[in-house]
């Protein structure tokens, strides 16, 4: 039987949905499950971590771990992996996962695969499936080592309803701070914004929005719907949208129930970040825009005209 260790995705003291999704998949594979939770003041999450489907909770809870620092974070994961004798170590899709997973793999002499969408276990043979070349191809990868460290792509696994676990908290030793990479401060993203990774609806804005007035218009629709608000690369490069809003191969990868592309032409790099969405709506003036090739519903039109009508019509339906 495999032992699968899932890294708890905790942001601002809140446990994110990806943790239960990963634990659900681990249970489906018939594995023994554990989580490792790293942060400050997170002890109160223990029962929630168990309820998400874990049978052991490795807790690294210390004020020194309040700000993310890759070195100590990796040390906690490695310690938990050794204690649990993990065959697989899974991170949810995040910048934290992407930067810590290769460190953990190097320290454990394990294979590492990022952005996996599926994993199979045949005896001891682990195989994973992942997109590559900006989502143009899918790779099936055979793992040649006993241990795999993986980062799971957003939306790859679904949480099973009624998952249960056992509360069994194990305290981890707190690693020393990394004196060679000192985190000075974190300039917080605009507070109050809905996390793109969690949002059920994501609305992104592209060059078609032209300027701040266009952005405000689309943002109004996002606010109405309680949607995450994202951006194409062009709007980030022009300085109108923040870096952390960029959806695409190089930015956030999202897979919401509904993705609305507003004035986005649909460069391959953008498509790589959103084609996992369940339903895609595109609004663009150019009927030939490549975004229409992946959209379930396309409206050929000027978003300045279309967005206010969308707001009205959606209001009528939702009441």
């Amino acid at each position: 039987m495999a032992n699968i260790l899932v890294i708890a995705d905790i942001k601002d003291g809140v446990l994110k949905g990806s943790t239960a999704e990963l634990l659900s998949k681990a249970k489906q594979l018939g594995a023994k499950t554990a989580v490792v939770a790293i942060g400050s003041n997170i002890e109160s999450l223990t029962s929630e971590l168990a309820a998400a489907g874990s049978d052991t909770q490795y807790m690294a809870d210390d004020p020194s771990l309040a700000l993310f620092s890759a070195g100590p974070y990796a040390a906690c994961v490695v310690e938990a992996a050794k204690a649990f004798d993990a065959n697989m170590i899974w991170f949810g899709f995040s910048e934290t996962g992407k930067t810590v997973a290769p460190r953990v793999a190097a320290q454990l002499d394990a294979a590492c695969a990022t952005e996996i969408t599926d994993v199979t276990l045949d005896g001891e043979q682990i195989q994973v499936v992942r997109p590559a070349i900006a989502g143009k191809v899918i790779q099936r990868i055979k793992v040649n080592t006993q241990i795999l460290v993986a980062v799971v792509r957003a939306g790859a696994f679904e949480a099973t309803a009624g998952l249960t676990g056992t509360e069994n908290a194990v305290k981890l030793a707190i690693p020393a701070a990394d004196l060679r990479a000192v985190i000075k401060e974190i300039l917080s993203d605009a507070s109050g914004d809905i996390d793109l990774a969690d949002a059920d609806i994501v609305i992104s804005v592209g060059r078609g929005a032209k300027d701040q007035a266009g952005i405000d218009l689309v943002k109004g629709l996002a606010n109405d719907l309680g949607a995450g608000f994202g951006s194409s690369r062009a709007m980030v490069d022009s300085g109108l949208m923040a870096h952390n809003k960029q959806v695409g191969q190089t930015g956030k990868i999202v897979a919401p129930s509904l993705y609305m592309a507003m004035g986005i032409s649909g460069a391959i790099q953008h498509l790589a970040g959103m084609t996992g969405s369940k339903t895609i709506l595109a609004v663009n003036k150019d009927p030939e825009a490549p975004i229409f090739n992946v959209a379930d519903y396309g409206i050929v039109g000027d978003l300045f005209e279309v967005v206010p009508i969308l707001q009205e019509e959606i209001k009528k339906i939702r009441g």
Binding site: A111, A132, I133, A181, S188, I309
Partner: protein, 258 residues
């Protein structure tokens, strides 16, 4: 400051990729410098121009990497190393990181710059693993680099909760985001000069290592498959009020998102 930049040649992602029998059809493919590595080259050249640095790049591959190295020369990189060895055919992040470790150890560099991932694999592992093997600090997904003094730099990283400001003691590895800069187009003079510059080519033996020492691939690609491409759905043209109302009705009744 001595800067080592690692660059990878990758398939051009703008072109169509065809797959047959689990493999990518080579015919018709074109190769380019990995876009993120190009950002790393630009960052190295800017550090040279603004702070003074000696810039070297290294690439792993065959003769067909030479044009790419010359392009980096034309952008302002001073020295180029090509690691060409028949054992290094299947790209594996851990194996390549071990090879780069050997390159680093020969050169006594202060800073290693590389792209945060390669466009062909989108893995993002090699630079971070290299730092682990070298036991030096590393920050990934960096959007700004500032030199503090000869032993320290400050970098800005796009993290999960905001922009992280990290002070790094050199030597260190930094992997860059494409948001860090806009790579320059080489000037004609630079292109002409680049043609005459030497490229130091080495195999693993000349690098002082062996295929055994750099290790076997920890994973291998069993097959390539076609991406499940989405089908174009319904596209509506005409009166904005009318078609928008139609689409919203479909979003509710068909897609059931409202």
């Amino acid at each position: 400051m001595k800067i080592l930049t690692t660059v990878k040649k990758v398939v051009d992602v703008e072109l169509n990729i065809h797959i047959e029998n689990g493999a990518i059809i080579e015919d018709g493919l074109q190769y380019v410098i990995n876009a993120w590595d190009e950002n790393a080259v630009e960052a190295a050249v800017q550090l040279k121009e603004n702070n003074g640095a000696e810039t070297t790049l290294v690439s792993i591959g065959g003769d067909d990497n030479i044009d790419m190295i010359r392009k980096c020369y034309a952008m302002g990189i001073e020295n180029g190393i090509l690691i060409d060895d028949p054992s290094l055919t299947a790209p594996d992040s851990a194996v390549f990181a071990k090879v780069l470790q050997k390159v680093y150890e020969k050169g006594d560099y202060d800073l290693i710059l590389t792209g945060k991932q390669a466009q062909d694999t989108d893995s993002g592992q090699t630079g971070i693993m290299l730092a682990e093997y070298l036991d030096v600090p590393c920050v990934s997904n960096v959007i700004a680099i500032e030199v503090i003094d000869e032993t320290k730099i400050s970098v800005s990283r796009l993290g999960d909760t905001g922009t992280e400001i990290v002070e790094l003691t050199l030597p260190a590895v930094v992997t860059v985001s494409d948001s860090i800069n806009e790579p320059r187009l080489p000037a004609m003079r630079g292109i002409m000069m680049a043609k005459k510059k030497k490229i130091q080519t080495m195999d693993l033996a000349e690098l002082g290592t062996t295929p055994d020492e750099v290790g076997a691939a920890k994973s291998e690609i069993a097959e390539f498959m076609k991406s499940e491409t989405r089908q174009a759905g319904q596209k509506f043209e005409g009166d904005a009020a009318e078609i928008t109302a139609q689409v919203v009705a479909l979003l509710a009744s068909e897609a059931k998102v409202f």
